[in-house]
Symmetry: C2
Subunit: 369 residues, 2 copies
């Protein structure tokens, strides 16, 4: 250790000693609230200093996953997600097994969104002492079930304690041929906007569970009213990632011009694709797939079904764009919907309603902060 380093330490110590107090108090002199930037603004603020030094790093922050080049034109894909109790899940109604399953799904979904195949995951958890070994076994039973379903290996992790609540952090690794990678920033004017499955159901499932929770809390003897809500609650508690579409793209030799998974809602994801690709979009309301159960439940909750589809989130469907010449390749695929077209950036991001009106689509997404 050189003198220089010791001097550095020394300075740092003085810094600490003068302010022998929590760092976040020191910062109060100039304090910008995280909420004022929002999640994406905060990420930009924190990562704008980042330099990339490794020649193997093809894509860093800014897409569903990072891309690292390997030999033979292959690439490795890496994505990570953190779920915290009270923010992302409520153990009042989320069974731990489902939570484990969903935690893996959320991550492999990001790998699929790059048109890649997930291969391995690591799982780190922090737990408070209210969790028993049996409770954690439930959580891992769900994680293992998802590993089996998506054919990924759980290869590592960390297990530690927290002062409060459960935190789950999963990193997923996948692989893809370089020429097949689907980024967010490569949509082009004239491309068709497509999406898999249907949207808004997971959000409505959450509304049902929240309603039942409130009823239960006000009267624990109340009988939950969940009949005929299997589809909506299933979409919330046990979502699936669209592995089948990555396989179908491969089989039909289709490479989308851009792709993203729908975790924060159609509106937010569309904004990511458009702003990163430097384009605009027109979405036809009639082209946005909404399940009949979601439509009915939205009305029951006094919500607009299209708003649930645009801003609901947690659908884990794929939003992608294709060159119009590839239309034939998806036309006969089940469960895929063409909902609009990529246009010039100057046109913005618009919704053409069934009634013939034009609305601007705002990027609402989920607000954690």
């Amino acid at each position: 250790m050189t003198n220089l380093v010791i001097f550095y330490y020394l300075k740092k110590y003085f810094f600490i000693f003068i302010n022998f107090a929590p760092q976040f108090k020191i910062m109060n002199e100039k304090r910008t609230e995280v909420a004022s930037l929002g999640e994406f603004g905060l990420i930009r603020q924190l990562t704008n200093q980042i330099e990339l030094r490794q020649p193997s790093t093809i894509k860093g922050i800014g897409d569903d996953a990072a891309i690292i080049s390997l030999a033979d034109n292959k690439c490795m894909v890496v994505s990570t997600d953190m779920l915290t109790e009270g923010i992302h899940f409520d153990l009042m109604y989320v069974p731990l097994k489902h939570l484990g399953y969903k935690s893996v799904v959320v991550n492999v979904s990001d790998i699929y969104a790059m048109n890649a195949i997930p291969t391995q995951i690591t799982v780190s958890i922090a737990i408070s002492n209210r969790f028993s070994v049996e409770a954690l076994e439930e959580l891992y039973a769900g994680i293992n079930a998802a590993c089996k379903e998506y054919n990924v290996d759980l290869v590592g992790g960390d297990t530690t304690s927290s002062l409060k609540g459960l935190v789950i952090s999963i990193t997923a690794i996948g692989e893809v041929q370089k020429e097949k990678i689907t980024y967010r920033n490569t949509a082009k004017i004239g491309d068709l906007i497509c999406c898999t499955g249907d949207l808004g159901a997971a959000y409505l499932g959450l509304q049902i569970l929240e309603r039942e929770k409130q009823l239960y809390l006000s009267d624990p003897n109340t009988k939950p009213d969940l009949e005929n809500q299997q589809y909506l609650i299933g979409r919330q508690l046990k979502p699936e990632a669209r592995k089948d579409f990555i396989e179908m793209f491969e089989k039909n030799k289709l490479i989308p011009t851009s792709m993203i998974d729908i975790s924060d809602g159609l509106a937010s994801e569309l904004h990511h694709i458009c702003s990163q690709s430097g384009v605009g979009a027109i979405v036809e309301e009639s082209g946005v797939p909404i399940h009949p159960d979601a439509e009915l439940m939205a009305i029951k909750f006094n919500l607009d079904p299209i708003t649930c589809a645009l801003n609901g989130g947690e659908d884990y469907e794929l939003l992608f764009t294709i060159d119009p010449s590839d239309t034939e390749k998806i036309k006969y695929l089940p469960d895929v919907y063409i909902m609009g077209e990529i246009v010039a950036a100057s046109e913005g991001i618009q919704l053409h309603t069934k009634g013939g009106n034009i609305h601007k689509i705002l990027a609402q997404g989920w607000v954690h902060f």
Copy 2:
């Protein structure tokens, strides 16, 4: 979606509805405390059901990092660590910049322990609303400084909120030629036990900071007594991973027969190597490197210096074994110490004290739970 799946959902719903209450309460009928298993027992319990399906997975859970095979005899190395406020760090005296730096060091150290070179990291954080943007910028300044020092790229992550405190989860990725990987389970009888740097100083640095914190809390006008403690506090607040040794091994064409990084203390790491390799070990107390400052401070705290070295932890030095025929290759390296020998498992893990006594070394390590 098939009927079968809907039936599965239905069953699951009944399970939830009957028990519309937090899952951990349900589990109370049979409740095993996590503390009764300890961290390593818990990991075994949770991971014993894991099946590996991917042919590329060479090593899953059980070493410093997982190993995934790539083309050209290369391997990818993956490791992950989670740090939680109040458990791993105390923001009362840990500056956020140092915390960011250390979080990266902890992870790249695991990559080096496989004799690999770290290349990329992902960083996920969960924060409560007491953290300002400026505070997070400090944290990321430390993360970026470590990325520069260790030549790794920050390629991804997640930023979310927590109900309480700060959680940092980092995953590090590295690469290594297959034949150079150093596992924990490959030490053999007759090998020499070596370690880099010195041990116990980080633990004593922590004791000093804890003492000063208590004094500060009882009287905020007290002036901290930290003069001449730069070395010990520096080892705690700004540890470095032994990148230099991986480079020296390469230069001297030395491949240790086994290796692990010292995060939980020499005793715990030695137990990992011995139990996984099916061997025992004899350590000479006189061979365990302890910095003079650590020796003095241990005595001041009424602690045995060798106990601090054995059980202190957070040194982030490398513990490795070499074939005796390689002795010449490390003999003239700076900052490396031969402290003992691998023996038959039947001999256990022993410490030969300076006074000529023989003690059993117990695997104390850090107890989170």
